[in-house]
């Protein structure tokens, strides 16, 4: 099974602008594809278009080789889990799960087997005859999942299914979902605005912003090779430090001259054509080196220290007030108000075109 989106666009009735445009995407068999993006970027619209709940204004949607633009949702062999769960309040848990099979006029025995199978998998057997209003949020979430899996569809669509759960349960369900995905061996398309969910669960992340795809790839590519400044800033916590500057004599020099770094050999190659042009340097908080005996360094004052246990996040300021976020192991001694020098791990520098924001190296 493959889901292919070709140049898909969506314009809502009564809107001037296209909400989405020019979306090209290929989701392969057994992919756990996470569509990630800030709110209002059109990710839910995209999911609803794959589900058939929203019409497709332009472009083509293929399931395998079949164009399904006009196929109604029920004939697409999909199942969807909603953010609000959308359980039918007047039916028992059992009926909720059996509903889709009942609508397909399967025989009773078959339905019972499937429902029991799903209930066992999701540990719902004790609540099968309760109403949704009588069970807890986590259980409702599992019923919503159960309703999706009883039919064994080819494609699972999930619209921020974990956002209504508390932090502990969410962590637990993340693992459950991945396990479920592996057991079922189908395609999962998962919409979220939470980068942790995306990084931990996905085999493929699609990062969207402003109705366009910013980058498609594996989670580690997102972290280590962000395609542009937006991606670099969106992924990773704390946010990546971005320093604006330009290239001079093969060295990166920030606008205020405080930061200057000599890039590594490989980076130098790709930066050659940028000599004298505007370039942004990105560096992750944990890729600063403390000690200051390796290459270029800079000095900064520690403003705030956030103690997270295994690491400390230092919010520091350069002489001119520019803020840099630096993370160091938790047992290192750093205090607010102190001045320290830090170096750079030059193999982990990200260079972006100063005008377009695209990645250079």
């Amino acid at each position: 099974m493959e889901v292919t989106l070709k140049n898909i666009g969506k314009k809502y009735e009564g809107r001037e602008e296209f909400t989405l445009r020019g979306i090209d995407l290929k989701i392969e068999d057994q992919d756990f594809c996470v569509i990630l993006g800030p709110s209002g970027c059109g990710k839910t619209t995209l999911l609803r278009m794959i589900a058939g709940l929203n019409s497709i204004t332009e472009g083509d949607l293929y399931f395998n080789d079949k164009r399904v633009n006009r196929t109604p949702p029920k004939d697409r062999d999909i199942a969807m889990v909603f953010q609000s769960y959308a359980l039918y309040p007047h039916m028992t848990v059992y009926d909720n799960m059996a509903f889709s099979l009942m609508m397909r006029k399967e025989n009773k025995k078959f339905i019972h087997e499937r429902v029991m199978e799903a209930a066992k998998l999701l540990e719902l057997t004790d609540y099968l005859y309760s109403k949704p209003s009588d069970i807890s949020g986590g259980q409702r979430q599992r019923v919503a999942l159960g309703r999706a899996i009883v039919r064994k569809p080819k494609v699972f669509l999930m619209d921020e299914p974990l956002s209504n759960l508390d932090a502990k349960l969410r962590e637990h369900m993340r693992v459950e979902l991945v396990r479920l995905h592996k057991t079922l061996g189908s395609i999962t398309v998962y919409v979220t605005h939470d980068q942790t969910e995306a990084m931990t669960m996905a085999t493929k992340i699609v990062l969207m912003d402003d109705g366009k795809i910013q980058q498609v790839g594996k989670p580690d590519e997102f972290y280590n090779k962000p395609a542009n400044i937006f991606v670099a800033k969106f992924i990773g916590s704390p946010t990546m430090n971005i320093i604006e500057g330009s290239m001079k004599n093969g060295k990166f020099i920030s606008n205020d001259g405080i930061i200057n770094v000599k890039p590594s050999k490989e980076d130098e190659e790709s930066l050659k054509s940028y000599e004298g042009r505007k370039v942004s340097l990105g560096i992750r908080a944990e890729r600063f080196e403390s000690g200051g005996h390796i290459g270029d360094t800079f000095e900064c004052t520690i403003d705030v220290v956030e103690m997270l246990g295994k690491e400390k996040i230092l919010y520091t300021r350069l002489e001119n007030g520019h803020e840099l976020i630096i993370s160091v192991p938790g047992h290192y001694e750093y205090n607010e108000g102190e001045k320290h020098s830090f170096g750079y791990d030059i193999s982990a520098l990200h260079f972006f075109d100063g005008e377009t924001g695209r990645r250079i190296n």
Partner: protein, 297 residues
Amino acid sequence: MKLFRKKDDLYLSDKQPLSISGKILLIITYIILISWAVAIIWPLFQMVLSAFNGKQEQYLMLNDQFVFSLKHFEYLFNKTLFLKWAKNTILIALATAILTLIIVSFTGYAYSRYRFKGKKASLMAMMLIQAIPTFAGITAYFTMYSVISSINPAFTRQLMLVLIYAGGGIANNTFILKGYIDSISTELDDAAKIDGCSNLQVYRLIIMPIAKPMLALIALWSFIGPFMDYLLPKVLLTSPESYTLAAGLFTLINDVRTLNQPAFAAGGLLTAIPIVILFIVLQKQLVSGLSQGSVKG
């Protein structure tokens, strides 16, 4: 003993204790409410009393004499067309309730879930037209009736009445049902569509069961309407055979030939029975709010 005292003295209400003026106001409020209640209950009580009072003759007399008897009921059943009127009314009321439910189901659902041209304008128009009393259209009803009945003689005046009642209720009830369905998450519709429902099935299997309390209320209101209305049946229905209860019973107090006021009281009492039964049957539906727990936790 002292301990108990203390317990009694504890002020447990969440509201601030009343000041003297507050207490006076409270007493006045109670006096108003009680006198209001008496004003409503006393005539009802008199009606019940007269209905069972054997001493009452053709005219109602408010005196102390009371002998229990069912003779007014006997009169009602044997000498008047009461049973026929009751049957007419119940049939008309049932037909009205069912017709209203069917029409309003469609309109309420459509107005709540679909976007179409003129949605707002038509809703406003319906609301405005509703402001004109139904009775103002009586000449039009007559013309419509004569046109339809000349084509199809089976179309009785009672059917016309059903149409008027059901049609008259559409606007208000559509508003009410639309509001209720608006409060049901559209994600339920989406889920049902993915589960394999057509639009009608979404309404029948998902929305309708959830909107049951509101539908029960609408059914009840449309059912009660024909019991209460006097004017339209009086004007539209011509023979006593086809009268509804309100129109029929009225002949017992305004026509000298058939005058029997205690029987009117007895009839009024009996009229209340089907409505009370309906209230009891639908009580559970009217009170419950089923849609809790459908979404979120």
